[in-house]
């Protein structure tokens, strides 16, 4: 009989290839709330984990558009409507002069916005993580950690334990809220 406070289970692999293969197995076994914690991104992991492509690019496109509109709006408002002045005999709306700032504003909005959104998304878009006390520090060194959360619909400690072992994960163990780990 397992303690109810169990948060989930984790084990690790020593190489990206094993992790990649394992990910596919976990996915095919029908687990949903699982994750892989790795020191560096592994090519093809999205597919292996059964995830879709990131939606970040769409956000970026919107931001870029916003930047363009902002720059054009500001420059035309200032130079043509708010206080038109005669600079060197040039027309008030001298559009070629507005291009550089338009471009820069586009990059500014898009790039900074993207960076911000990506960080937030990275925090939000995730399954319940193992409690911080027990995360293997190896996950930022050379371990490729697999984690299945207790919130998974088909959660069953024994099954999970057996499953992870079966796919060759090392150091498999259950984790509870207090961080105690027991095999």
């Amino acid at each position: 009989m397992m303690p109810t406070s169990t948060k989930g289970i984790l084990g690790h692999f020593c190489g990206p290839d094993e992790a990649l293969a394992a990910a596919a197995k976990v996915r095919d076994a029908g687990w949903k709330h699982f994750d892989f914690l790795t020191p560096f991104p592994i090519h093809g992991m999205e597919e292996a984990m059964g995830q879709k492509r990131s939606w970040i690019p769409y956000v970026t496109a919107l931001l870029a558009l916003g930047g363009i509109l902002f720059a054009q709006g500001l420059q035309n408002y200032v130079m043509v409507f708010d206080w038109p002045m005669n600079f060197g005999g040039k027309p008030h709306a001298s559009w070629p002069a507005f291009i550089p700032i338009t471009f820069e504003a586009m990059v500014f909005w898009a790039a900074l916005g993207t960076a911000l959104v990506a960080i937030i998304a990275g925090k939000k878009d995730t399954v319940p993580q193992p409690p911080p006390m027990v995360i293997e520090t190896g996950a930022t060194v050379d371990r490729f950690v697999v984690w299945i959360s207790a919130t998974d619909p088909k959660w069953n400690p024994d099954e999970a334990l057996a499953f992870l072992k079966s796919i060759g994960a090392q150091g498999v163990r259950l984790v509870d809220a207090e961080g105690g780990a027991h095999a």
Binding site: M85, N86, F87, G88, G89, K90, P91, S94
Partner: protein, 1040 residues
């Protein structure tokens, strides 16, 4: 801040706000008093805050006063009682012009180095101590009464002053000696001997088709106003045909630079050459009334053109050709001399030969001399000075009163004046500061500036002008006339002098509370003298007062016509002046010419004049030994290398300058520099060449002095106000210029330049007024009065020698001087610093007044990110100082480089010793611009710019807006302005009418006509900036 070491009361120069208001109030009152019809006693001054009804209209409005400043009528512009601008009198019937010194006189008036009051100088033994007028008077008067006193002055032309001196001399035996360092008596001698009358009539250059100058300098010294008449005939396509001007000279002067043809002749040969030309005219051409005069023929015999030409190293045909031209132009030509060359030992020969030429071409008969405007030339008085020095040494003089003379500085070394001065028991100086001479005196009794005191002046054509003050004395000083009259009366001189002093006392039995009489005896004496001699009425009578006020209003009075000139018939004995052909001069000779701006050095403490670059050498803040280019190169010199000039026993070490157009065997040094006691600004600037002069035949000799020049170690950088000298107009068509021949073929000749492409955008429209300027380069002679006028009007700071060396001049308008590279020279390299030797041996000089062109497509406006410069609706390129943050991008992008940047805070002193030690350039500027009362010269209509701000010519926008406001007040339309409604300072100062400014859209506007003129050219068309300033071609009269 460096203090004026000669001032015993330095702190007296400090002005805090209250003090300023008090003085300002006083000035306002003075202004009102000097204005016509004001009866307030002069000592009643009114503080600003409770100003009397009469003065309220004086606030915020300029008041103008007609006055006269050493010999020239001027118009004083005052604000709140402060003179802020000196302009030439608009209706100057005398024909007298103004010089740079007149325009810069404000700097003399507000000069903080003036003595703040009487000083006990103690003959230079021990530090000067402040004294009081009572003390000075008590010291002077008894000695004056005792007699054997001498009054040493500069040239005196004030009738009332002359009269006063005469009266005093009559009673006390005061001896009056006048000495003018720059004047040579050669002219006077020649005319006196020739016609028995020393008065010289005024040449009518406006009537002459041909002008020949033998070292003439009427443009270098325009005090006789010839430049205006000259310019009337210099622009082709006008009414009268263009005149041709041929100049023979050794040093390239401004006059020579304006000549159509220039022939290099060293000063010592000039006389013989002039005589040779006369020979060729009279004997060769057999032309003129003297043709058959045996005496003349005999006198001219030694000067056969072939002989003289060979000696002078020129082709004889040049002389005979010149003679032929003169003969052809008989009755339409005039010959001039009288420049520095006339101060050479052979000066009288030169003048005599010139006279013969004028006679033989009927210059007198044909009315090319204005006899009505004949005047006696100013006396040089070298002989008198030498005699005085001897008397002093002999102890014959007990008391010496020096007024407006500075012999210790400017007397020839041979006079040894300083040493002679030591023999006098009592010396008092009436100069305005403890100068070189006053430093050896017992007392300094400072005289007021002409703007502070009453006086008068006799002008040509029988005109008389009153010198009326526009401001009360800024310091504890007295007018020269006041002083002499007061002292005279105290010394017991009866008559008018005594009466004048008596008039200052309240009339016996005057009603209590009645206004006290004017305390200035000079004022009473002046009025009495005018009453006697000119107005024919007693002062005080209504008729007199009416006439007097009329004189003050108009500035001058038409007096009785001067005595008729004698018939211009040559007195045969005068021919002796020609003498025989002198020995051919060997080796180098020296010319000592007056500094263009400083003249005899009296105004050496004037920052505007010191900073004004010589129009030919472009050197400011100092002078140099001008050496002919080829010799200069042979000596392996570079500009600024020190050379030692040895004339007799006198030697001088000064930097060398490669002077284009200088005669190979001649060197030249400017006079008027190297003052040692004129003040913080002028002390030790440049070399003092006065000691190099000699006295011979009772005349000071400034030219033809044999010298040796050798290089010595060391350098002294010359502060050039210009980068490169030579311009190849084929490659850089920046100055429209052509010859008369070409012009007559095609009126557009000389304006050729690459055209720009089409505009990428629609042009802005200027529906109403649009301001523009046209500058006629044929009329402009490069005198630079516009520069000083602009500097005064627009509060432009002085940057000092260091500033010019750093290329940080601030003047908004400058006169570019170029030497035109010959057409054949197409090689790249024609534009290097000195230019090819061929160019500078005999240069074609071009002058271009360069100021902001107010381009329609101004490149400066586009690049300023701060919106600190943009275009106004009436076509002005505006600079907004308080928006300017100083990227200097506009200046980089200005193709004319007319934008000026405030690299320093020119108006405040950086006093931190630490920082000044770190960089010695810090903190000098307040000495030059804002010490003491200096800022009182500022025009309140113009912002004083702070550090880090860009500035430039504004077309005197303050005057434009003033006109606009006036139109608004009067309810007139503001869309167009007639000519003359707005006159910028440069145009106002220009004596030749070269500058025309106006609303180019106004119907019938002159500037519009000039802009459309075939001679008009707008610079750098290819860049598409579209300047608003049109330059009219400089046409050279090349048709013999």
């Amino acid at each position: 801040m460096k203090r004026n070491e000669t001032s015993p009361h330095p702190e007296a120069l400090e002005v805090d706000r209250r003090e300023f208001l008090r003085v300002g109030g006083a000035l306002a009152a003075a202004g009102a008093l000097a204005s016509a019809g004001c009866r307030q006693p002069q000592e009643a001054t009114v503080p600003f805050h409770d100003m009397s009804e009469k003065l309220v209209d004086g606030q915020g409005q300029p008041r103008f006063f007609a006055s006269v400043l050493d010999g020239s009528p001027v118009l004083l512009r005052t604000r709140e009682g402060r003179p802020i601008l000196v302009a030439p009198s608009p209706d100057d019937a005398s024909g007298r012009g103004t010089t740079l010194r007149h325009h810069a006189a404000l700097m003399d008036l507000y000069d903080p180095d003036r003595a703040p009051g009487p000083v006990w100088v103690r003959r230079g033994k021990g530090a000067p101590v402040a004294s009081a007028w009572t003390v000075v008077t008590s010291e002077v008067v008894p000695r004056l009464a005792k007699g054997s006193a001498v009054l040493l002055t500069g040239p005196v032309s004030s009738p009332s002053l002359k009269a006063a001196i005469a009266e005093i001399s009559a009673k006390t035996g005061l001896v009056h000696v006048a000495y003018a360092p720059l004047e040579s008596d050669a002219v006077a001698t020649a005319w006196l001997r020739a016609f028995g009358d020393a008065r010289v009539p005024r040449p009518r250059l406006d009537k002459a088709d041909l002008v020949v100058g033998f070292g003439a300098e009427f443009l270098d010294d325009p005090s006789d106003g010839l430049e205006r008449d000259f310019a009337l005939r210099r622009a082709p396509g006008g009414g009268a045909p263009m005149s041709r001007f041929i100049q023979l000279e050794g040093r390239l002067t401004l006059t020579g630079a304006n000549a159509d043809r220039r022939i290099r002749v060293r000063d010592s040969e000039l006389a013989s050459v002039a005589a040779a030309v006369a020979h060729a005219v009279v004997i060769g051409q057999r032309a003129g009334p003297l043709a058959n005069d045996a005496e003349v023929a005999k006198a001219l015999a030694p000067f056969a053109p072939e002989v003289v030409a060979k000696r002078a190293g020129i082709d004889p045909s040049v002389l005979t050709g010149l003679a032929a031209e003169l003969a052809k132009a008989r009755g339409r030509a005039v010959v001039l001399a009288g420049g520095t060359a006339s101060a050479s030992p052979s000066g009288e020969t030169l003048e005599m030969a010139t006279l013969l030429l004028n006679l033989s071409i009927d210059a007198f008969g044909a009315g090319l001399f204005d006899e009505a405007a004949a005047e006696a030339p100013r006396a040089g008085g070298a002989r008198a000075l030498a005699a005085l020095a001897d008397d002093l040494r002999a102890g014959k003089v007990a008391t010496l009163i020096v007024a407006g003379a500075n012999p210790v500085y400017d007397a020839p070394a041979s006079v040894r004046f300083a040493e002679a001065l030591a023999k006098v028991s009592f010396v008092v100086s009436l100069n305005d500061r403890v100068d070189e001479t006053a430093a050896l005196a017992d007392f300094l009794a400072p005289a007021s500036h002409p703007f502070e005191s009453w006086g008068d002046e006799a002008l040509p054509r029988g005109l008389f002008a009153v010198q009326q003050p526009a401001i009360q004395p800024l310091y504890d000083t007295k007018g020269l006339l006041d002083l002499l009259v007061a002292w005279g009366a105290a010394a017991g001189v009866p008559g008018a002098v005594a009466a004048a002093v008596a008039a200052t006392a309240p009339a016996p039995g005057a009603a209590p509370g009645a206004p006290a009489p004017n305390p200035n005896p000079g004022w009473h004496y002046l009025r009495a003298h005018w009453g006697r001699t000119l107005l024919g009425r007693e002062p005080g009578t209504p008729a007199f007062e009416a006439a007097w006020n009329a004189v003050l209003r108009d500035g001058y009075l038409q007096g009785p016509a001067p005595a008729a000139a004698p018939p211009r018939r040559l007195a045969v004995p005068a021919l002796a002046l020609l003498g025989s052909l002198p020995e051919a001069p060997a080796g180098l000779e020296l010319q000592l010419y007056p500094h263009f701006a400083l003249r005899d050095g009296r105004g050496a403490n004037n920052g505007w004049l010191q900073e004004f670059p010589d129009p030919v050498t472009r050197i400011s803040w100092g002078g140099a030994v001008s050496i002919a280019p080829r010799r200069f190169d042979e000596m392996k010199l570079a500009n600024g290398d020190l050379v030692e000039v040895k004339a007799g026993e006198a030697t001088l070490i000064a930097p060398a300058y490669r002077h284009a157009g200088m005669h190979h065997d001649q060197v030249a040094i400017p006079l008027g520099l190297g003052r040692s006691a004129c003040g913080v600004i002028g002390n030790g600037i440049g070399p003092n060449a006065f000691p190099l002069r000699a006295i011979s035949g009772g005349r000071t000799v400034s030219a033809g002095i044999p010298v040796t020049v050798r290089r010595v170690t060391g350098r002294e950088e010359l502060a050039f106000a210009q980068g490169s000298d030579v311009i190849d107009r084929d490659r850089r068509p920046l100055v429209p210029a052509t010859t008369l021949t070409a012009f007559e073929k095609d009126a557009k000749a000389g304006t050729e330049q690459a055209k720009g492409g089409p505009s990428a955008w629609p042009e802005h429209r200027f529906p109403d007024a649009r301001w523009a300027m046209a500058i006629d380069l044929s009329k402009c002679n490069g005198c630079g009065k516009c520069v000083i006028g602009c500097q005064a009007e627009n509060n432009i700071p002085v940057v000092g020698r260091r500033g010019v060396l750093d290329r940080r001049e601030m003047s908004w308008i400058r006169i570019d001087r170029y030497y035109d590279a010959p057409k054949k020279d197409g090689r790249w390299g024609a534009e290097v610093w000195d230019g090819p030797l061929a160019v500078v041996e005999e240069p074609q000089t071009l002058f271009t007044p360069m100021l902001c062109q107010h381009c329609e497509n101004a490149p400066c406006e586009t690049v300023c990110p701060f919106v600190a410069t943009m275009h106004s609706e009436d076509g002005l390129n505006q600079q907004i100082y308080n928006r300017c943050v100083g990227t200097r991008y506009c200046a980089n992008n200005c193709p004319f480089k007319v934008r000026r940047f405030n690299f320093w805070e020119y108006s405040t002193a950086k006093t931190s010793a630490l920082f000044r030690a770190l960089d010695r350039r810090i903190g000098r500027f307040s000495d030059l611009n804002t010490r003491g009362l200096m800022q009182m010269k500022n025009n309140p209509e113009v912002t004083v710019r702070g550090r880090g701000v860009m500035e430039k010519c504004s077309f005197c926008i303050q005057r434009i807006r003033e006109a606009r406001a006036a139109a608004t007040r009067a309810g007139r339309k503001k869309d167009h302005f007639a000519d003359g409604v707005v006159v910028p300072a440069c145009m106002e100062a220009c004596p030749t009418g070269a500058i025309t400014f106006g609303d180019i859209h106004a119907p019938g506007s002159r500037v519009a006509a000039l802009a459309a003129h075939p001679r008009a050219m707008k610079l750098l068309e290819a860049t598409g900036v579209k300047p608003s300033i049109s330059y009219l071609t400089k046409v050279r009269h090349d048709k013999a």
